[in-house]
Assembly symmetry: C2
Amino acid sequence: MGTMSSDSALFGIDNLPYGVFSPRDAPEERRIGVRLGDRVLDAGAAARALGSPHAAPLSAPSLDALLAAGRPVWRAVRAELRSWLGDAAHRERVEPLLRPLDTVTLHLPFTVADYVDFYSSEHHARNVGEIFRPGGASLTPNWKHMPIGYHGRAGSVRVSGSPVPRPLGQRRPAEGSATPGFGPSQRLDIEAEVGFVVGTGSAPGRPVPLSALREHVFGVCLLNDWSARDIQAWEYVPLGPFLGKSFATSISAWITPLDALDAAWTAPPPRDVPPLPYLDDASAPPGGLDLRLSVLINGHPVAHPPFATMYWTAAQQLAHLTINGAHLRTGDLFASGTVSGAAPEERGCLLELTWNGERPLRLPDGERAFLMDGDRVTLTAWAPGPGGQRIGLGEVSGTVEPTPA
Amino acid sequence: MGTMSSDSALFGIDNLPYGVFSPRDAPEERRIGVRLGDRVLDAGAAARALGSPHAAPLSAPSLDALLAAGRPVWRAVRAELRSWLGDAAHRERVEPLLRPLDTVTLHLPFTVADYVDFYSSEHHARNVGEIFRPGGASLTPNWKHMPIGYHGRAGSVRVSGSPVPRPLGQRRPAEGSATPGFGPSQRLDIEAEVGFVVGTGSAPGRPVPLSALREHVFGVCLLNDWSARDIQAWEYVPLGPFLGKSFATSISAWITPLDALDAAWTAPPPRDVPPLPYLDDASAPPGGLDLRLSVLINGHPVAHPPFATMYWTAAQQLAHLTINGAHLRTGDLFASGTVSGAAPEERGCLLELTWNGERPLRLPDGERAFLMDGDRVTLTAWAPGPGGQRIGLGEVSGTVEPTPA
């Protein structure tokens, strides 16, 4: 194999994310794949060939059955995969079931039930507050007491690589006009986020405690919550974001199991306001995750948001989401909100990076206040793995297309 | 049959709403039922017995396949049902397939894809504005330019009769305190609404025009968007309602096909601000629906909200929902928002009826500012039908239970 490629380093035996693929020559098929380096294992075929007791969920056309199977099955399947792919004894039978990544098409890997988007970076929330409410308090009074969130449109979640047509919509009336503007969004933006995929549901009326995160969450993905800032600014008072967000949300094709991120847990920032007991993680194991994100526009890096700086953790988001008795379903997706660190180059959206367009980015192909048609946005990330290795998260990318005629 | 019962009058041959039932003696089964008076036709059994070409979708365990089949099938199935139930020639074979309503259990009749809740009553929006922003403008500047809406939690939609445990949550800190209140909601409310059920989906990037409502919407239901006003008030700035609503949304077990409401179309209120072209219904057929709602608490009528007074119509809501390129899926549910008329007794939630608790209602069993544990709330409605008849909508009811221990 010669020198280790970047893919091999980021997607080694300690990673093993799950996805759903079609072989290039059978585009109507859907098979569960597990990524190893720049290849994909046909997990169902491997399970059948090797007599796995989990051949049924691994032979399904999506991850739904595996997600629903629960944590003991997730762990058993992961142990099998590590054995199949790592033990010389199995290598001969498994080798023919590994396909080059560039010979498959990747699909949305699970059925999205409800999609919730949080707003859990203090740096992001403060920057947005300063931009939209200059001179006012940058955080709303509730912000340090709960992970603020809202429901997004599950039907608009799409897999990495899907195009993103520029949305049409209303914007605030021009000065002196009584009629709103209307047309393709002029302020199309990204939001670099991390998504959490729920496997095991919960019962209605039974809040999920902080300690139960790993019983319910199967894994993580990268998520780009595309945002039309002009549509959003005009519509969002009083009921929150709607059409400014609902046109597209892209997720990575690969779901990294939480079990691959054992070395990435880290303490969240100090809580300067004591949370209520159901959100108090002072005596819990560290609930932050050290994920290092990068944002690229047309291949050019524009930001490196550090997920470890998020104020509210996934466990707190889950506890809050269910405290009112709402239950979880297999396939629920909840996202962190824009990941922004303290430094200007750590901001996860153009609204912040260009300070609402006032300070355009200089890219090799010109200036950007907001996205132009044809721009390809890619989010990547890695986390510390065992023994100083890196665990890669699958990238999420999308190209902006003109509004359909 | 003697005198015509109220059920017979409201659920006659011109109505024929769809639901999903289990026979009392086979609780695990799910069958499609069609209501006639106080009886339910086993629609799959009838279709098979009478050789219908639509036996497959009618024999499914939910309405999903029928919804997806599209308007030509909806019309053909309705014509068959009218013939089976109305023609003497078929009566003998169909009669044994009619079961008394009180021998079946009704279930959520379709898989809810995305749930969107609008805010389309001007009276409701003005009352809420006056209550929460006294002295300010009662409508936000965008209100007359678009049907304001947001996404709710699809997983919390439940069928009429399901209990509604009182939600737990945070509320605004008491005067002088820095810590939010926490506990069972003290201001549990209802919202009397009408829900629209999407049958035929649409393509991403292709807005649905006003004229296409009936190609996409299969029918209507009654909907109670239970709301915890104290949780909502503390959380909703800046991203809108979340836990104050996400614990429960109840819908009627019966979906009334739009084809049963032909006589109910009516002109919406005059538009005093001209809408943008994609929302302009001035030259369209009347887009309002004359549905007369009633709200009952423990059987006592407390309000009669007139749906015909809604400012924004279902066609406008659908056009707005998709103008940004978001697509529709089978099972999408969008609701009107609280239905409130101009008169005090026409208001569709306790927030308005009691003016934020300041003027409690007097019920036979005592005063109510907001709901008490044990309160049973029922919404009913009827619409004008052919020849002066009334078309009943299935009721939606729910009983408030104490917060689980």
